[in-house]
């Protein structure tokens, strides 16, 4: 009984809300995860060739970095609004906007990762007869992985958070619940959805950290001291990551 009252009293924390609207919360969370996954995956697929092109040709690097920075400056609400005439009111608006945002972080960090590969490792691989493709996938990418994963973690966490703004067109995952809750002054809904959103960001970050550890077993003894390093760097100032 006491639990039922919290809905009427419009309390911030309400177990009854979570029990009765479990399905709604699950759907919103799944939409949130779907939008985030799609955005980050497409972001990676686009950022990777862009970073390789920027590394190969100096002339490409400037415009690529400048245009991704400009995209990053555009506020999320404006970005989604500008994409509405292109895609209509669909999830594609939100995913495209989030992909464009993730490019800034991903391209810079992939470039920084590739730049951090020791020259000796590259020379040794060439001396062993590695061609450019095998050099890239067999030597450079594994060595660039820590910096790239740092970028991927930052991009994923920001994407989880920015997805909420998609609520303006009805594709904001948990943001939809925040938006509805705002209109109806439903405190439990707003707080529950907000907390879930932060939990989602933290879980995604930890999952990626785990993936990184599994992918780079050779770095494990050193990880303890350096794992925060690249992330912290990228965090404070992506501008400098490439320098």
């Amino acid at each position: 009984m006491a639990d039922g009252n919290c809905l009427i009293a419009n309390d911030w924390i309400c177990g009854e809300y979570v029990r009765t609207r479990g399905q709604e919360l699950t759907d919103a969370t799944l939409q949130h995860i779907g939008i985030t996954l799609a955005s980050v995956a497409i972001g990676l697929l686009v950022a990777f060739p862009l970073a390789l092109l920027a590394r190969r040709w100096r002339a490409v690097a400037g415009p690529v970095l400048a245009s991704t920075t400009i995209l990053y400056t555009i506020p999320s609400l404006a970005m989604f609004s500008l994409l509405v005439p292109v895609f209509g009111l669909s999830a594609a608006v939100v995913v495209t906007g989030l992909v464009l945002y993730s490019l800034t972080i991903l391209v810079r960090n992939i470039l920084a990762g590739l730049a951090s590969v020791p020259r000796e490792a590259r020379e040794a691989a060439r001396g062993m007869g590695y061609g450019p493709v095998r050099l890239l996938f067999g030597v450079e990418l594994p060595l660039a992985l820590p910096a790239m994963m740092a970028g991927l973690r930052i991009a994923t966490v920001s994407t989880v958070s920015l997805t909420t703004v998609g609520a303006i067109i009805g594709y904001g995952g948990l943001g939809n619940l925040v938006y509805e809750g705002m209109r109806s002054y439903f405190k439990a809904q707003v707080l529950t959805a907000s907390v879930l959103c932060v939990v989602l960001a933290v879980v995604a970050d930890l999952a990626l950290l785990l993936v990184q550890r599994l992918l780079t077993p050779w770095a494990r003894p050193k990880r303890r001291t350096t794992s925060r390093g690249p992330a912290a760097r990228g965090a404070g100032r992506p501008e400098k990551a490439v320098a």
Binding site: I74, L77, T164, G175, M182, S194
Partner: protein, 230 residues
């Protein structure tokens, strides 16, 4: 008529620029909120970062606050503040959210800037008999200046973006043109509002890039000093 033409029509209609819902008034609100909140957050974050950076303490705080700032959705915080008891006090929820989200980039960049000052230079300054305050004012701050301005720049862009979002819970600013456009299902107005916001954000960013280039106190000095030390 295509969206582009209709957007152009919207932007060139004089009536859309005047009045309380007009562009000029909304732009004024946007700029006012941006400037006030940026100043308040600088006043809070920069002294803390400079002191912590000078003492070399609180590095974990500086890093973690940036991570927290990224993970917490701005929109959710705006709505939470609106529904809190503060929500009845006009634009206070917006102001608080703006300041909260401007602090992480300011704090992190200024802290990193202070820490990255060459320790040899600080030692040399101390050896010359400078006091702590003198070291901060004459050595560390000028050398940390580029990163401090980078932080202010990120914070300014962040504030412009957050002010736009504040229109969703009913705050002022240019975002209101977008939200009103969605309510009226007027795509031209949505796009026009979005263009205005995007241009404002880019102008703010551009202004800071220029300021960074021309106001750096170490402009043209850094290399010579480093050469002499090396």
């Amino acid at each position: 008529m295509g969206v582009v033409e209709r957007t152009w029509d919207w932007l060139t209609t004089a009536a859309h620029w005047s009045g309380t819902d007009g562009v000029w008034h909304r732009l004024g609100e946007h700029l006012f909120l941006t400037v006030v909140c940026l100043l308040v957050s600088c006043a809070i974050a920069l002294p803390v970062a400079v002191v912590l950076g000078h003492l070399g303490k609180g590095g974990a705080l500086a890093v973690n606050i940036a991570n927290v700032g990224r993970a917490v959705p701005t929109f959710a915080v705006l709505v939470l503040l609106l529904l809190s008891p503060l929500g009845t006090h006009g634009s206070w929820p917006t102001v608080i959210a703006l300041v909260l989200f401007a602090i992480p980039p300011l704090l992190t960049n200024a802290y990193v800037g202070m820490r990255e000052v060459d320790r040899d230079m600080v030692e040399a300054a101390r050896g010359m008999g400078m006091t702590g305050v003198q070291v901060v004012a004459r050595v560390e701050l000028p050398l940390a200046f580029p990163l401090i301005v980078t932080g202010v720049r990120s914070a300014a862009v962040q504030v412009v973006a957050t002010t736009t979002l504040a229109a969703l819970p009913g705050g002022g600013g240019l975002g209101r043109i977008i939200t009103a456009g969605f309510r009226l299902t007027d795509t031209a107005q949505v796009v026009a509002g979005a263009l205005l916001v995007a241009v404002l954000a880019l102008l703010v960013e551009g202004a800071f890039v220029l300021a960074q280039r021309f106001l750096d106190p170490m402009r043209g000095h850094v290399t010579s000093v480093q050469d002499r030390l090396a």
